[in-house]
Each structure stands twice: as structure tokens, then as C-alpha cells.
């Protein structure tokens, strides 16, 4: 490091006599951080954009439709007269799909995670993990096709009363879609449990199953729960499978064989038609989207909180 007098000297000489100083290089060095900062700001602006657009259009919507009708109304008929905007049918539809999906995916995903992390030999892991990655990369529209061409006929064969569009078929397809997510996130959590804990249990004579269930799963519990919450949030926002397989009749029902409509499927249905700006249907997209956004946002925050707050440190 130069001392003080030297540094003032070189500062004086800086502009004209430093033969190593390239003006273009130093300009880039000053300009680039600003440009890069702007890039990073885009993501913040995206979030602000999402919140502001959803909020402003939702407020406009609530000027026409009273907020209590929206929250507690039991009838949703936005596209047919008389128009009614009670979100409950869309909400129960959405929750039914996500519940079925979690019931399908959680046991299978967890069991696969335990198998991969505790039982599988290295060779098998190296084959199965890429397959699960492929499964995670399949576009949701393809799962939608899978639902209507395979799952629905099977369901109709087992339950002859089931409709062409039913919640069960869509729910199972969404469940298959989120298996890789639960499996890989839970497996990450389980692999993070240190070897020594397992060895301790094995030394006491525990079987692999006992090690998995009584040592590894409790130690990785926060990661497992947060993977389930994230998968739930993903299922909540799933769109194409439900618009293809679950139907478009918003009914307040708890029968999984009925045709229902989810929040996302409603937004797609409205968007496929031609909606004039400022119309009440246009506003309803934002009100429903806002509801969906709040749900998924809270779930994501919850997942992050769980994985940080309840993490076992080793």
C-alpha cells in the first residue's frame, strides 16, 4: 500500500501520465456495476408489478362486487346471467384437487426419498434420479393429456358414475406431477443427515428400516415438511391439467367424481374468450389471481420459515 503522500501524488498524475491506465477499461469498471444492479432490480420490479397490478384491478373489482359476496358467496357464475361472484366453489374445487394430489404424492414421494437415500445401491440411484428429473421436466400439458386419455377412462371403469371431467382424475395427475418435487427435496434433506448418526444406530443393532424411520426422518423432518408445503403450493397453482381434466363447472361439492372448476381453470376459461377491458369478467381474473397469489405466497413463506426455524444443526 502506498502511503498518503504517494497516493495524492499519483492522483494528480492520474489523468495524463499513468501509462497503464486505459480509459475504456476504467470506464467499463465504473459503468458495469450500475448496469448489473439494474438487471438485479428487474426481479424486484417484477414482484412489485405483480402486487400492484393484482391489487389495483382487484380493488376496482370490489367496487362493483361487494367483498363479502366474493369471500362468502356460494355460487360462482361469471360468464352466464345472473352473474354471481362467490369464490367458495372455486376455492373448494382447488383445495379438493390439491388434497387428492398430496394424498397421492406425499406417501409415494416420501417412500421413494427414503428408498433412494437409505436403501438404494449407488448404481440404482444413478438410474432412478435422472428418470425423476425427466418426470419433473415433463410439461404440464402432457400430464393433462395423460389424465384425459388414461386416468379418466380407468376411473370411469372403476366408478361407472364418474363424469368425463372429474376432480379425481385431475388430482391424481397433479399428484404424479409433484412426486419428483417431494422426492428430490426430501432426499436432499435426508442426505444432509450426517453419516455418524446412522452409524450410531446401526452399532446398536438397528435395522435399516429403524434407522430410516427413527433416526433419519426425524432429523430431516423440517426439510420434509417444507418440501410438502412447497409441493402443495405448486399443486395449488397448477393450471393446464385441471383445465383439461377437471372440467369447467364451478360447483360447491366434496365428491371427487364430480366435475369442478379451480381458480386457475377459471382464469384460463375467461382468457380463452374475448374479454373487454374494464368489464367485470376482466376484473374477476385479477380478484381470483390475487386469491391464488396470496395462498401460494403464504405457503412459500411458510416453507422457508419451517426449513429455517426447525432445522436440526449438526
Amino acid at each position: 500500500m502506498p502511503n498518503k503522500s504517494q497516493s495524492t501524488l499519483s492522483a494528480d498524475a492520474n489523468e495524463y501520465s499513468n501509462p497503464f491506465k486505459n480509459s475504456r477499461v476504467s470506464k467499463m469498471n465504473k459503468v458495469m456495476p450500475v448496469l448489473l444492479f439494474l438487471c438485479a432490480i428487474v426481479s424486484v420490479l417484477t414482484t412489485i408489478g405483480i402486487v400492484v397490478t393484482l391489487l389495483s384491478e382487484t380493488i376496482n373489482f370490489f367496487k362493483v362486487v361487494p367483498i363479502q359476496d366474493f369471500l362468502f358467496g356460494t355460487k360462482w357464475s361469471a360468464l352466464i346471467e345472473p352473474q354471481r361472484f362467490g369464490i367458495l366453489p372455486l376455492l373448494t374445487g382447488t383445495l379438493m384437487i390439491t388434497t387428492i394430489a398430496i394424498v397421492v404424492a406425499l406417501p409415494i414421494g416420501l417412500a421413494s426419498a427414503i428408498y433412494l437415500s437409505e436403501y438404494a445401491p449407488d448404481k440404482v440411484r444413478r438410474i432412478i434420479k435422472p428418470i425423476l428429473e425427466v418426470l419433473a421436466g415433463v410439461p404440464t400439458i402432457v400430464y393433462g393429456y395423460f389424465a384425459i386419455s388414461i386416468i379418466t377412462p380407468v376411473i370411469q371403469f372403476i366408478f361407472p358414475g364418474a363424469g368425463v371431467y372429474n376432480a379425481l382424475s385431475a388430482g391424481i395427475a397433479v399428484g404424479i406431477m409433484i412426486i419428483p418435487m417431494i422426492c428430490s427435496l426430501s432426499e436432499d434433506a435426508m442426505s444432509a443427515v450426517p453419516r455418524s448418526l446412522r452409524d450410531g444406530a446401526y452399532a446398536l443393532g438397528a435395522t435399516r428400516f429403524e434407522v430410516a424411520l427413527k433416526i433419519v426422518v426425524p432429523a430431516a423432518f423440517s426439510g420434509i415438511v417444507s418440501s410438502a408445503v412447497l409441493a402443495f403450493s405448486r399443486a395449488l397453482g397448477e393450471t393446464m391439467i385441471v383445465s383439461l381434466a377437471a372440467g369447467s363447472t364451478p360447483t360447491l361439492t366434496f365428491n371427487p367424481l364430480d366435475s369442478i372448476q379451480t381458480m386457475t381453470a377459471y382464469i384460463v376459461q375467461v382468457s380463452l374468450g374475448d374479454v373487454a377491458r374494464g368489464s367485470i369478467e376482466y376484473g374477476s381474473i385479477f380478484a381470483v389471481g390475487m386469491t391464488l397469489f396470496i395462498f401460494t405466497f403464504l405457503l412459500n413463506i411458510l416453507a422457508q420459515y419451517i426449513s429455517r426455524r426447525f432445522r436440526e444443526e449438526y
Partner: protein, 291 residues
């Protein structure tokens, strides 16, 4: 004593049996995913193989299934990628460099970081709503190619940022120090030493983002991709369609011929995705440097 030992043996045998049973059960659960993938692929190939013909690439959509193709969808998806890749690459890598190399460790940086991970969890349909309000209406771009491409760019940005951050973080401190020791400025160090060594990881992230963008349907429906486009977009503000939109349109129809046509379009979509994934794996294995 003997009785005690026998009881013990019995207990151990039970526990072993339980272990074996559950081993099988876990293995079965794992195979569910694999079976589902196999059934899905076989089903799609059975339904779609017959309709797989060059017409699919060269014909526009039509009311008659035997004449219908998805030229406009293929070209539409291609145009979207041509806009999306450079935009999201520059912005995503730029944001990652800022966060990893320049950002001060303060509250604001942590907020930006938290924001990116939250954005990755926002449902794609919400991006569609943002695109509808921002690009289609507020900026007056209407239901156009550019509205769709910009919406998709925002959607894939978090994927690229996170992947690039990981790649940049993996470059060891010593590389930067070596560059600084040679008298390089911060930007010279970042652009000529850090970036080149992290480019394989970044490319893998970009490929993942591209495969996400190719298959994403919902946001494009919300920003108004048309389901019936019998021309190619000539400018950025023309109406457009994309591959998954065309597939959605076909498989949501009641006629079996259109459903099968949708299946053959899915074969093409999956083939493209598999090629992308393979190239990502190749890049990862061949160019990834171990530091």
C-alpha cells in the same frame, strides 16, 4: 436364560422381516414414478405415431384433422425463444453477477435474494396475469408475439439467476486473486476470469429455462396467444400461437382425430425437450471444471 434368548431371536426375526417388507414397499413406491412415465410415453406414442408426418411441420392448423399441422405453433415457439434467450441471458446473468460479485452484504441485498426465491414459487399463471396487465394493456402491445415473449422472459428469469449464481459461486477465490494480482480491474476479473469459468453452469441453467419456456402453456393463454393462427407472425406485434397452445387446442377437442393429432404434437415437443436435456447433461459432464 434359554427362553429369553429364543424370545430375543424371535424379535430379531420379526424386525428383519419388517425391514424386508418395507424395503419392498419403498421400492414399489419408487417404481410408481417410473411406471407412470413409461405408461405416459407408451400411450402418447400409440396415439400419436400414426399422425406423425412431415405435414405436421409444414401445414397450418385446419378444421380437418388430416390437413392440420402446427407450422405456426413451431415457428411461434421459435420466435419466442429468439427473443427470450438473449434477454433472459443478459438480465439473468447480470443479476447473478451483481448479487455474487458486487452486492454489499446488507438488508437490501438479502431482500433481493429472498425476492428471487419467492418469485421462483409464483404460479406461472400469475405471470400471465402480470403480462396481461403490463404488456398487453398498459404498454399497449396487444395480444402479440412480443407480449408473450416478454412475459415468458420474466417467468424464466429466476431459474437463470439461481443457476448462474451457483455457477459463479463455484469459481474459487484464488482465480479472482490471480486476476487482481495481474492488475486487472474488478470488471476485467469478472468478465475474463470468473464468467468464462462459470459458463458451463450458466448454460445448463439457460437450457433448463428454455425447456421450461417451451412447455409452459398457461401464461401464453392469459396474454392472449390465439388458438387458430394460419399465418406466420411478420412483426413483433403480430398475433401468434405456440406449440403447447396448439396442443392444448387439439387435445381439448372432443374428436378422437384431433386428440391423436395432439399426441403426435406432444411426441415432437417431448423429443425437443429430451434433446435439450441431453445437451444440458453433455455440457455439464464435459465442460464442468472441478476446482
Amino acid at each position: 436364560m434359554n427362553i429369553f434368548q429364543d424370545a430375543n431371536r424371535q424379535q430379531i426375526a420379526n424386525r428383519r422381516l419388517k425391514d424386508h417388507l418395507l424395503h419392498t414397499l419403498f421400492l414399489l413406491a419408487t417404481s410408481v414414478g417410473i411406471i407412470a412415465l413409461t405408461v405416459l410415453i407408451i400411450d402418447i406414442i400409440i396415439d400419436g405415431w400414426a399422425h406423425l408426418s412431415p405435414d405436421l411441420f409444414t401445414n397450418f392448423p385446419s378444421r380437418k384433422a388430416e390437413n392440420a399441422g402446427m407450422k405456426s405453433g413451431l415457428i411461434g415457439s421459435l420466435y419466442i425463444l429468439l427473443i427470450l434467450i438473449p434477454l433472459s441471458f443478459v438480465m439473468g446473468v447480470g443479476a447473478a453477477i451483481y448479487l455474487e460479485e458486487y452486492a454489499p452484504k446488507n438488508k437490501f441485498t438479502r431482500l433481493v435474494q429472498l425476492n428471487i426465491s419467492t418469485l421462483a414459487g409464483v404460479p406461472s399463471i400469475v405471470y400471465g396475469i402480470l403480462g396481461l396487465a403490463l404488456f398487453v394493456r398498459m404498454l399497449g402491445l396487444e395480444k402479440s408475439l412480443i407480449s408473450g415473449a416478454l412475459t415468458m422472459t420474466l417467468l424464466v428469469l429466476p431459474v437463470i439467476i439461481v443457476a448462474s449464481q451457483e455457477a459463479i459461486r463455484a469459481v474459487p477465490r484464488s482465480r479472482r486473486d490471480a486476476s487482481f494480482a495481474l492488475g486487472a480491474t474488478k470488471w476485467q476479473t469478472v468478465s475474463r476470469s470468473v464468467l468464462p469459468s462459470s459458463i458451463p453452469g450458466i448454460l445448463t441453467g439457460v437450457i433448463l429455462a428454455v425447456s421450461r419456456a417451451i412447455g409452459e402453456t398457461a401464461p401464453l393463454i392469459i396474454v392472449g396467444a390465439s388458438t387458430y393462427v394460419a399465418f406466420l407472425p411478420q412483426s413483433l406485434t403480430d398475433a401468434f400461437t405456440a406449440m403447447p397452445i396448439q396442443i392444448y387446442n387439439w387435445i381439448s377437442r372432443p374428436q378422437v382425430e384431433f386428440k391423436d393429432l395432439g399426441a403426435s404434437a406432444i411426441i415432437i415437443l417431448l423429443a425437443i425437450l429430451i434433446l435439450l436435456n441431453i445437451s444440458a447433461v453433455i455440457i455439464r459432464n464435459r465442460y464442468q471444471k472441478k476446482f
